[in-house]
Assembly symmetry: C2
Homo-oligomer: 220 residues x 2
Amino acid sequence: MNMMDETGGRETSATRAAYLSLREMILVGELPAGQKLKIEQLRARLNMGASPVREALSLLTSDMLVERIDQRGFKAAPASLANFEEILMLRTTLEDMALRKSMARATPEWEERLVLSHHKMKRLAGSDTFEDAHKSFHMTLLSNSDAPMLERYCSQLYDLNIRYRYLAAGGEGYQSRDIAAEHEDIFDAAVRGDAEAASAALLSHYRLTGAYLKTQLGGL
Amino acid sequence: MNMMDETGGRETSATRAAYLSLREMILVGELPAGQKLKIEQLRARLNMGASPVREALSLLTSDMLVERIDQRGFKAAPASLANFEEILMLRTTLEDMALRKSMARATPEWEERLVLSHHKMKRLAGSDTFEDAHKSFHMTLLSNSDAPMLERYCSQLYDLNIRYRYLAAGGEGYQSRDIAAEHEDIFDAAVRGDAEAASAALLSHYRLTGAYLKTQLGGL
DNA sequence: ATGTCAATAAATATCGATATTTTCAAATCT
DNA sequence: AGATTTGAAAATATCGATATTTATTGACAT
């Protein structure tokens, strides 16, 4: 039996599809923090066998979005104020490091990618794909660091933080500050090659967002 | 059919057994860096089905000891001088942070665990379980940081570094310096509560080891 | 000889069917 | 009544069998 999926399009692998779906569901809170993740349920929901689901959950363990308890299945990683604060702390430390490394090795090619991703982010403000563009901008800032593990950590921590944004306000309501101006500051300093200013702007951006989110996270 | 294993002992789960075996095999170089990891081979070698092997490999992806290429299987993470240097950089940064946090919250209970793990490590010098005791000592130093993700990163990075020790000299030959004295310095400063001294001693320990290893890693 | 393409072989990915373990609740004993 | 044991019921973990995909080999045309 060949798997001429819905739209006739050829997907990659079932495991990858499951990984992406489950990741998204956890990030936006569709699968709430701390909830037990039952294979049978997910299997039915995603319309595939148990093997790809198990494997996807194992992979999500890497990202600290899922916890695995031997012999007792999986659950969505719990959320807590302490966890949020630890993420913020690690993020500021590691992104600062990565940004400085990135800038120290600045090339025209990197600057061009930065200009492009900044432009796309501005253009997509308000759109439902803004989230992706926003992450892309931040990761592009770090992408020239020549330290792949460091970048991986930053990407992981970025994702973990997304979840708290949704927890705080269902994904909305964080446009209250002038985020665009903050991004502009980071971007300008980065292109200008002023590492101190870029770092200060980036950290300030994260700390302001962090402080705001903390006020919204009463239920933790 | 019940699985009355060899010694009649009841293990935990096949997945966990596979995870531990494969992890060890990669760390000591029995499965060389960069090598393709074929399910069928490993399945036969570990005497179990394909599912636990696949799941264990997925979990090892978390630890950055295995790479997964969609639709194309798994391979042991490649080793390189650049990777070694990145590990060293991240390790010094993160362990420094964790050690300071740990010490800032020092309690008698933590000090006691530290004394104990230091004692055990000294006692096991030369033994084949020294490696475990050594890791245990270093992790105990950090274990009071109240930052679980940070500790997890440190533990991961520690393991990744082990592999380079084996690559450098088959696991031997790194006793040439007076390692015991270096550990003693770290330990004394930590118990004394002198964070600056402890941090300096710890970083020096890692940098000396790192510099030594680098001389031995010609083949990368 | 050399590069392309088809046929074959090998390996991965996935499913469906069980065996094992854990969980939960009712029944039993003190 | 309260604690403990026992037995379904549910869920996880694992196996063995296929389907799918990727890698390899050898024929064929240039």
